[in-house]
């Protein structure tokens, strides 16, 4: 059974002048950890708000656990856990007061579902008398997750839960999501960080309101059309310009320490020819290796 079903959904703002979500289709299976991957402004938050019944789609239909997001919005609101992208708890209430409040809003108590949040809550428990506004970014997200989980939802909607969170906390957060998934909770999560995509079971790559691909991360990487190489030299800035003007090169993108490139008409001698032509352009310490593409490579490839 599909927990989330999105069919041809269109959402426009400003009386149709701005299309945020354009003919989007995807579905999430029960118990799946599904990721919506895309840059800021791609339409991720709009999709989340449609699914959590906060916005009405202009066209198409969407359902959560078999319930229509427009007609049956009251039932959906009782059974989903939602964590908005912006930190949305009461900053002037303490950690414990926030949790207690959201527990009682959902007619439950901390004690009742403590086993579900225990792993996460123990980490913030030392700060339970601290006001939520005074917590660090990672702590805030953990508290928000606790609040979204307190009523034991069947499905969790997490809108960019790791944005603005340090690397260590991000890792911890994803570990927690893995454990929640093991407990059978369906999780729909969005993130602008491509490296987090591989932590999901299936991902949808989204750009400018359109979904470009819905696959497992491995499958998306497998579908990358060309062999990919990483190249570096002493002057990286000049290298990028020269590579882009080089007739042998099909694509070239900067990726931190290396540039990722693909060749036109790849042959066994392609690498040597390229190195030679670059040496003629006064590049030194040239280093080139074949690599497997990551999600970001795939994303950029799909974008073009």
């Amino acid at each position: 059974m599909n927990m989330v079903e999105v069919v041809d959904v269109v959402k426009t703002y400003n009386k149709g002048s701005l299309t945020a979500v354009d003919q989007v289709n995807f579905s999430v299976k029960k118990g799946e950890l599904f990721g919506l991957i895309g840059p800021d402004g791609a339409g991720k938050t709009t999709i989340f708000r449609i699914l959590t019944t906060l916005l009405l789609p202009n066209q198409g239909s969407a359902s959560v656990a078999g319930l229509d997001v427009v007609k049956d919005y009251k039932q959906i609101r009782k059974m989903v856990g939602y964590m908005p992208g912006k930190f949305s708890l009461y900053q002037d209430l303490t950690v414990e007061e926030n949790l207690n409040f959201f527990a009682s809003v959902f007619n439950t108590s901390i004690a009742e579902n403590y086993d579900l949040i225990k792993d996460i809550y123990v980490q913030i428990e030392p700060f339970k008398d601290r006001r939520a506004g005074k917590l660090s970014g990672g702590m805030k997200q953990k508290l928000a997750l606790c609040c979204a989980l307190i009523h034991k939802p069947e499905i969790l909607f997490l809108d960019e839960p790791t944005t603005g969170v340090d690397v260590v906390s991000r890792k911890e957060f994803w570990d927690m999501l893995g454990r929640l998934k093991d407990q059978g909770i369906t999780i729909l999560v969005s993130t602008p960080y491509m490296d987090e995509a591989t932590l999901c079971e299936r991902i949808a790559l989204i750009q400018n309101g359109k979904i470009m691909s819905v696959e497992t991360p491995d499958e998306i990487i497998k579908q990358y059309p060309d062999p990919l190489f990483a190249i570096k030299a002493s002057n990286m800035g000049k290298l990028l310009i020269d590579l882009r003007n080089n007739p042998y090169i099909k694509t070239c993108n900067a990726f931190g320490e290396f540039h990722h490139i693909t060749f036109n008409n790849l042959s066994d001698s392609s690498m040597e020819i390229l190195v030679k032509s670059l040496e003629n352009q006064n590049h030194k310490e040239i280093e080139i290796n074949p690599i497997t593409p990551n999600i970001e490579d795939c994303f950029i490839n799909l974008m073009n």
Binding site: L55, R77, L89, S104
Partner: protein, 368 residues
């Protein structure tokens, strides 16, 4: 029920942890009562007066000199014609006219009784009554002089006539007006900000995606502010009776009940504002600018409604504080019971129900 209580508790946390809100909630009424209380009882200086002297004898001239010497008054001219009195009031901003009848001194001497007519501009009741008191004092002063010199039981009666507002409504009745003003402003402001703050902070987004009922949200938002406003009311009443010597002739219980009604009405206005605005700033602006002026203008305690043009008088009917002002005045000053004010009470109840209904209707169950 547990849901509701925990929401109410949360609202109390918000109020008590926000120093600014707390200061506004309890500081503003005290400041306003003191400010308005003393500003409105200020003495009047250099008020323009005219004297119309039929007598032109020694007594009338001595009294005229006393008026001239007094710094509260500024004698602009002596009139020759009774018709000029009216035009002096209308055109020359004269506040008081003093009329000596013919044979003033003769009457005083032989009949042991003489009359002076004082005509005041009653459209500004507080000034008028203050000036009247000053004038009385001057005449009494002259009488004392006469008694000392001649040891004769002369007496002068002043006959007072208030033009434009003969009943002199609002002499010391500004206190009920300030009560209406303060309660309205505070209650509207507090609640206007409360729901919109949740929208701004994003917490409304989570609240919406929960089994919470909009009606509960609204009621649990209003309840804490209602309780706090009742505390405020107590403070205001205590201050009014002790500091400003305001009498409460009627039933205190009835007054409190009617005040509670005004508070609920004001809370409903605030909730409505909160539901239709998008930012705290907009909500504050509407409730400060949009409420303050109509309340001050149309409650009737600063500017008599009877003097206003008909369209404005009609408009004043939709200002809740106007009705409360009538009610509070009737209870506090005239000592009347519910039988005299049931109509006004009914109007307030009707307004409250309508406003609550509107704010429920305007409550958005989605983000747009």
């Amino acid at each position: 029920m547990k849901q509701f209580l925990s929401f109410v508790r949360k609202e109390f946390y918000h109020v008590f942890r926000d120093r600014k809100t707390l200061l506004m909630l309890f500081g503003l009424p005290i400041v306003q009562i003191v400010l308005f209380g003393f500003a409105l009882t200020n003495e009047v200086k250099n008020a323009k007066i005219v004297i119309f002297d039929y007598a032109k004898d020694i007594a009338s001239q001595e009294i005229t000199q006393k008026f001239e010497a007094n710094q509260n008054f500024q004698l602009t001219k002596s009139l020759m014609n009774a018709k000029q009195i009216e035009s002096a009031f209308k055109k020359e901003n004269v506040k008081l006219a003093i009329v000596f009848p013919a044979n003033f001194y003769e009457d005083l001497l032989h009949l042991h009784k003489a009359q002076i007519q004082i005509i005041a501009d009653g459209s500004d009741p507080n000034t008028a009554s203050t000036l009247q008191n000053y004038a009385n004092a001057i005449i009494m002063d002259y009488q004392m002089d006469l008694l000392q010199n001649q040891k004769l039981p002369y007496s002068i009666n002043t006959e007072l006539r208030m033009l434009y507002n003969p009943e002199l409504k609002g002499a010391t009745t500004f206190v009920p007006g300030i009560m209406a003003l303060v309660l309205m402003l505070i209650c509207v402001l507090m609640t206007a900000v409360s729901i919109v703050r949740e929208k701004e902070m994003g917490t409304m987004e989570i609240l919406l995606v929960s089994p919470f009922n909009p009606f509960l949200v609204i009621v649990s938002k209003a309840l804490p502010y209602f309780l706090l406003s009742m505390v405020n009311l107590t403070v205001i009443l205590v201050m009014a009776t002790t500091l400003l010597d305001m009498p409460i002739h009627g039933s205190l219980l009835l007054l409190v009940a009617e005040s509670a009604l005004l508070i609920i009405c004001a809370l409903s206005v605030g909730l409505l504002i909160s539901n239709i605005t998008k930012s705290q700033q907009a909500a504050m602006l509407i409730s400060m600018m949009g409420m303050m002026l109509p309340i001050i203008l149309f409650t009737g305690f600063m500017f008599p409604l009877e003097n206003m043009p008909k369209p404005l008088q009609l408009f004043s009917n939709i200002v809740p504080s106007k009705w409360y002002y009538i009610i509070a005045k009737s209870i506090m000053l005239k000592g009347l019971g519910i039988a005299a004010i049931w109509k006004e009470t009914l109007v307030l109840i009707g307004m409250t129900v309508l406003l609550l209904f509107l704010s429920l209707k305007k409550f958005k169950t989605r983000l747009e």
